[in-house]
C-alpha cells in the first residue's frame, strides 16, 4: 500500500508585509503580497558609469513613470517563495505519474547538466556557423537518429512543441497538394484522436471529417476507403491510438489514402510504444511528429517547453520548415534557399536546449536500449491492465501497447465519478491517470506507467486502486471528498471559469 500522500511539508505563510488579507489565507502568499517597498533581489554592477540616466538619454517622453505593482523582495525571500511553491506540486521525480498519453518517464539529471554547458547554453543563435559547428553537428546527428528511429527520410527539428509539429506537418501537406495544383481541403481524423489534431487541422485551414473507430477500438481500412475522396488531403492517425491499441490495419489505411492521392499523417505522440517495435516510415506514414518531452525524456516543466520535430518521406522534404540544416564544405550551415519551404514556425532554429537533452538520452540508451524501453513500457501497461482487470476492466479486448484504457462501474454502483477516483488517488500520493479521454470511452481511465517505474510501484498503484474501489462501495463520501491530504481541498474550477480572476491586483 502506498503511504498516505503528502507532497512534502505545507509551508507556513510568512505574514505579508502589507496586510492584504485573503480569508482564510492559502498556503503561500502571492509574491506581490510579500513585497515591501525598497527591497531588491539583485545587485546590478555599477558598470554604466556615464551617470546619465536612461530617461535623460532617450527623453522622458519615451519612458514610463513606474512599474506599478511590481514586487520588491530580497533574494532569499524570492528563493524561499518559489521553493515553497515547488513543494505544492506533484512531480515525476517524486511520485508515480501514470498519466496516459503524456509519457511521464524519468528525466535523466545529466541531460540538464549537459544542456547547461557553456558551449551550448551560452551560444547565441546568430553566431556564425563556422563558430558553432559543435552545435550544428549535434543537430545533424539528432536529425539522423530520429530518421533512423522513425524510418523516415528527412527530419526537421524546428517546431517548438508537438502541437506545433502537427501544424507544421499539416501545412506541408497543404503546400504539397497546392504545388501539384490540387485544392484538397479535408483531413480525416479518428474519433479517438488527440484534441490537438482537429485544432491543428483548423489552424492549417482544413475541414475535419471524423472517422469512426470500430467496436474493438481501432480504425478499419474500409471506413477510410469510404471517407477518402479527391477532396481529402490527409488522414491523421495516432498509432498506437489513444486506446493504447496498435492500429492493425495501418498499412492498408496508408495504401487506401495513397491510392487516392491523400497522405498519412502519423501523430507520434505515442512513439514510446514503437521504439524498435515498428517504424512509422514502414507503416506508410508520409509525416510524423515527435514529442521530445514524451518519448525522449526532456522535462515536462508544468507544461513545457517541448519540442516537436517532424520527420517526412522524400516527397515532402522540399516543404520542410526554415531554417534547414545542410552540409557544406566546412561542416554544417543553415540553408536559406528553399523556395518550396512552408517557411518559419518560430524565432530562430529550434528548441535547442531540449534537443541536447533528447540527444543525450538517445546516446545513453542506444538502439538496443530504446527498443528495450518500449518493450518494458508495454510490459508495465499490460501488467497493470491484467492486475486491475477484476475491478477496472479494459475498455477493449485488444492487446495494449504502452498504455491501457480502463473503465469502471462505480458511477452506477456507488455514484462515484471517474473524477472522484482520480482525486482520491492524489491522497495516496499518486498522480491520477488521464481521465475522460479518449472521448469514446465513458469514464475512461487512461494509464501509462512507462518503463521507468518498478514492479513495486506498479503493485502499490494496484493496491491503491483496489482500495479506492472498496471505499467507493463502503464509504463513498471519503472518495467524494478527496483530496484531503493536499495543500488545498477540491478546487472549484467552475467558479474560476465563471468569474475569471487572471491576475493579482493591488488593492486601492
Amino acid at each position: 500500500m502506498a503511504s498516505a500522500g503528502r507532497i512534502g511539508p505545507v509551508a507556513v505563510a510568512e505574514t505579508p508585509a502589507t496586510p492584504q488579507r485573503i480569508e482564510p489565507v492559502a498556503g503561500v502568499p502571492l509574491i506581490f503580497e510579500l513585497s515591501s517597498e525598497g527591497r531588491r533581489g539583485v545587485d546590478l554592477s555599477p558598470r554604466a558609469a556615464g551617470q546619465r540616466r536612461g530617461a535623460e538619454i532617450i527623453g522622458v517622453e519615451l519612458c514610463r513613470e513606474d512599474l506599478p505593482g511590481f514586487p520588491e523582495l530580497s533574494e532569499p525571500q524570492v528563493l524561499r517563495h518559489f521553493i515553497r511553491l515547488s513543494q505544492l506540486n506533484f512531480a515525476q521525480a517524486l511520485q508515480f505519474y501514470p498519466l496516459g498519453s503524456c509519457t511521464m518517464k524519468y528525466n535523466p539529471v545529466v541531460n540538464d547538466e549537459l544542456a547547461a554547458l557553456a558551449g551550448l547554453a551560452g551560444l547565441h543563435p546568430a553566431t556564425p556557423a563556422h563558430l558553432a559547428q559543435g552545435a550544428l553537428e549535434l543537430l545533424a546527428r539528432m536529425e539522423a537518429a530520429l530518421a533512423e528511429i522513425t524510418g523516415m527520410d528527412a527530419v526537421s527539428l524546428h517546431p517548438a512543441a508537438g502541437a506545433q509539429g502537427e501544424l507544421t506537418g499539416l501545412l506541408m501537406v497543404r503546400a504539397y497538394h497546392r504545388k501539384r495544383g490540387q485544392a484538397r481541403h479535408k483531413v480525416i481524423i479518428p474519433d479517438t484522436s488527440h484534441g490537438t489534431n482537429p485544432a491543428s487541422c483548423t489552424l492549417a485551414g482544413f475541414e475535419v471529417i471524423v472517422a469512426k473507430s470500430n467496436r474493438r477500438g481501432y480504425m478499419e481500412a474500409d471506413e477510410v476507403r469510404r471517407l477518402v475522396s479527391d477532396d481529402v488531403a490527409a488522414m491523421m492517425v495516432t498509432n498506437p491510438n489513444t486506446l493504447g491499441i496498435f492500429e492493425p490495419e495501418i498499412q492498408e489505411i496508408a495504401a487506401a489514402l495513397h491510392d487516392r492521392g491523400a497522405m498519412l499523417y502519423l501523430d507520434g505522440a505515442n512513439m514510446n510504444a514503437l521504439l524498435g517495435v515498428a517504424k512509422p516510415g514502414h507503416m506508410g506514414a508520409d509525416i510524423v511528429q515527435l514529442n521530445l518531452h514524451k518519448t525522449f525524456s526532456t522535462p515536462h516543466g508544468g507544461g513545457g517547453p517541448g519540442a516537436g520535430p517532424v520527420a517526412v518521406k522524400k516527397h515532402l522534404e522540399p516543404f520542410l520548415p526554415m531554417p534547414r540544416l545542410k552540409r557544406c564544405a566546412a561542416g554544417y550551415e543553415f540553408d536559406a534557399e528553399r523556395p518550396d519551404s512552408i517557411g518559419r514556425m518560430r524565432s530562430f532554429h529550434n528548441n535547442f536546449g531540449m534537443i541536447v537533452r533528447a540527444y543525450a538520452y538517445i546516446l545513453a540508451l542506444g538502439g538496443d536500449g530504446l527498443g528495450m524501453a518500449s518493450r518494458l513500457a508495454i510490459l508495465g501497461a499490460n501488467y497493470l491492465r491484467k492486475r486491475l482487470q477484476p475491478h477496472f476492466p479494459s475498455a477493449t479486448g485488444e492487446p495494449s501497447m504502452h498504455e491501457c484504457v480502463l473503465s469502471h462501474d462505480l458511477e452506477k454502483r456507488a455514484g462515484v465519478s471517474t473524477l472522484e477516483i482520480a482525486k482520491r488517488l492524489l491522497d495516496f500520493g499518486i498522480h491520477p491517470p488521464t481521465i475522460y479521454f479518449p472521448l469514446v470511452v465513458p469514464g475512461a481511465l487512461m494509464i501509462e506507467p512507462t518503463e521507468t517505474e518498478s514492479k513495486e510501484i506498479l503493485d502499490s498503484f494496484v493496491d491503491a486502486m483496489e482500495r479506492i474501489y472498496d471505499e467507493a462501495l463502503n464509504d463513498p463520501e471519503r472518495v467524494k471528498n478527496a483530496p484531503q491530504t493536499l495543500p488545498v481541498s477540491r478546487v472549484d474550477e467552475a467558479a474560476a471559469a465563471r468569474h475569471p480572476i487572471l491576475r493579482w491586483e493591488k488593492k486601492a
Partner: protein
C-alpha cells in the same frame, strides 16, 4: 539500462501475471513485416560518463561561446542570469511536473503561472496575459490569428517592415492556410529607422485588420507606438506590438499606455540562457474584452471547498479539449518552465532593479555608440534606440571578419534580411558588455572602414 528498474526476475513475474512467455509476445499482434524491420541501427547504449564526454566535446567546438566579446542581439539577448533563477527551475518538483490538469496537485505551478500572468500585465500595462506562448515570433502570429477571430471580415494584415524578420516570416507561415488575407508591409523611414507613419496612414482604412509593430524594432529603434496605435484605431483596426527585448519594457512606456490592443513578445531576456535560440518563452497580453479569443493556457484564481485561495487552469472551453476543431489555438504545451524562469527573474529584479537594468542597457549602448562615433563610425538611423543600434558601414561583412580576428562578434549584418540595408550592421549592447570592449570594437571596425 540504468533508467529501467525491472530486474530479470521482475520481468519474469510480470510476464507470468500477464500470461506471456516472452517480452516479444506482447507485441506479437504488431504485423510481422513491421516488427522485422524495426531494429534501430544506432550505436549501443553508453555510460553516463561517455555521454558527458561526447556532448562536452561537441560543446567545446562552439568556439564562439567563450573567449569572444559579443555584440550579437537581433532578437535574442545576452543578459546576466542570477543563480537563483537556475536554482528554482532546476527543482525537479517544477521540471518534472506535467500540465496542471489536477489542480490540487499543482498549486505550485499554477500559482507561479498566475504570478507570471500578473507580471506580464504589469509590464505591458494590459489587463490580461496568458500562461506563455512558445516564443516571440509564434506569439506574434497567434496575435494576428486572434485579431482575425475578433474581426473576421477585415482582410488586410499590416506588418511593419522593421518588425523582426523571423516574426514576419512566422506570421506569414501561420496565415498561409487562411484564404482571403492580404499581408502588406509598411516601410520604415530610411533616415530614422522608424515605421513610416504616412505609409501606414495610406493603408489605414476599413479593410485593415491589424498592424504589427516591433517595440523596439528590428533596427533597434523605439517606434512611435502611440502614433501608430492612433492611426490604426482611426481605421477601426487593432494595434499589436511585438517586443523581442523584454528588458526595454522596464523603461519604455508600456504598450498598454500607448493604446496597443495586443502586446506580445519574447521573454528570453528574463533569465533564460541563449541556448542557440531556444527554448525561449513568448508572452501575450491583451484587453479584457478580448479574453475569450485569446489563445493558449490561462490560470485563474478560485477557492477550494474550504474557502481557501487556490489556482487552476481555466477558460479551457477555448482550448483543444472541448470544442476541438473550433479551438482558439492548438496549443497544448506552453513554455511553462521558461515562464517560471521569467517569473523568478522579474521577482528578483523587482520594481527598482528592472528599471535600473533597463537604464544601464540604454546608457551602455549609447556609450558604445559614442565611442564608435569618435572613431568616425556613424549610426545608420537617427531614431531613438534602446540597447541596439545599426552602424552605417561600407562593407559590414568585412567589418565582421576584422572583428572576428580580434575575438569580437561585432553584430548582425542586416543585409541578409534587408536587401536595402547592405550598408548596415546591427550592434547590441547589454550589461554583459564591459566598457573596454567598445574601443576594441571601434578599432576593429575602423580598420576596414
Amino acid at each position: 539500462m540504468r533508467f529501467m528498474p525491472q530486474t530479470e526476475r521482475d520481468v519474469a513475474a510480470m510476464l507470468e501475471t500477464i500470461g506471456a512467455k516472452h517480452l516479444d509476445d506482447l507485441i506479437a499482434h504488431v504485423p510481422a513485416s513491421l516488427r522485422a524491420s524495426a531494429t534501430i541501427n544506432l550505436d549501443r547504449g553508453r555510460s553516463e560518463a561517455d555521454v558527458v564526454g561526447e556532448i562536452s566535446a561537441l560543446a567545446a567546438r562552439n568556439t564562439g561561446a567563450s573567449g569572444f566579446s559579443s555584440f550579437l542581439g537581433a532578437g535574442y539577448y545576452r543578459h546576466f542570469v542570477p543563480a537563483a533563477v537556475r536554482a528554482v527551475i532546476a527543482r525537479a518538483e517544477f521540471a518534472t511536473s506535467y500540465t496542471p490538469y489536477q489542480a490540487e496537485a499543482s498549486q505550485g505551478t499554477t500559482q507561479a503561472i498566475f504570478e507570471f500572468q500578473t507580471l506580464i500585465t504589469q509590464l505591458t500595462a494590459m489587463e490580461v496575459a496568458n500562461a506563455s506562448m512558445y516564443d516571440g515570433a509564434s506569439a506574434a502570429a497567434e496575435a494576428v490569428l486572434m485579431a482575425r477571430r475578433l474581426m473576421p471580415r477585415r482582410p488586410v494584415v499590416a506588418l511593419s517592415r522593421a518588425l523582426w524578420p523571423e516574426y514576419r516570416a512566422t506570421i506569414r507561415t501561420y496565415l498561409s492556410a487562411l484564404e482571403g488575407l492580404d499581408l502588406v508591409e509598411v516601410p520604415f523611414d530610411d533616415a530614422t529607422g522608424a515605421t513610416d507613419l504616412s505609409a501606414l496612414d495610406r493603408i489605414a482604412n476599413d479593410r485593415l485588420l491589424c498592424m504589427v509593430t516591433g517595440y523596439p524594432n528590428a533596427l533597434g529603434i523605439i517606434e512611435p507606438l502611440g502614433a501608430i496605435a492612433q492611426i490604426t484605431h482611426r481605421a477601426g483596426a487593432l494595434a499589436i506590438s511585438a517586443t523581442a527585448e523584454g528588458i526595454a519594457l522596464g523603461l519604455l512606456r508600456a504598450p498598454g499606455e500607448l493604446g496597443v490592443d495586443i502586446a506580445v513578445g519574447e521573454g528570453q531576456s528574463f533569465g533564460l540562457p541563449l541556448q542557440f535560440g531556444g527554448p525561449g518563452v513568448g508572452f501575450m497580453a491583451a484587453r479584457l474584452t478580448h479574453l475569450r479569443q485569446m489563445p493558449g493556457r490561462l490560470v485563474g484564481q478560485t477557492r477550494d471547498r474550504d474557502g481557501r485561495r487556490a489556482f487552476c487552469l481555466t477558460l479551457s472551453t477555448r482550448e483543444q479539449h472541448i470544442r476541438r476543431e473550433r479551438a482558439t489555438s492548438n496549443i497544448c504545451t506552453n513554455h511553462s518552465l521558461c515562464a517560471l524562469a521569467a517569473t523568478v527573474y522579474l521577482s528578483l529584479m523587482g520594481r527598482v532593479g528592472l528599471r535600473e537594468l533597463a537604464e544601464q542597457n540604454v546608457e551602455l549602448a549609447h556609450q558604445a555608440a559614442a565611442v564608435l562615433e569618435v572613431a568616425g563610425i556613424r549610426r545608420r538611423f537617427s531614431g531613438p534606440f534602446f540597447n541596439e543600434f545599426a552602424l552605417k558601414l561600407a562593407n559590414p561583412l568585412a567589418a565582421l571578419e576584422a572583428a572576428e580576428r580580434r575575438q569580437i562578434l561585432a553584430g548582425v549584418a542586416l543585409g541578409s534580411d534587408y536587401s536595402e540595408l547592405s550598408d548596415a550592421l546591427l550592434v547590441s549592447v547589454t550589461e554583459m558588455n564591459l566598457g573596454g570592449e567598445f574601443s576594441r570594437l571601434a578599432a576593429a571596425i575602423a580598420e576596414v572602414r
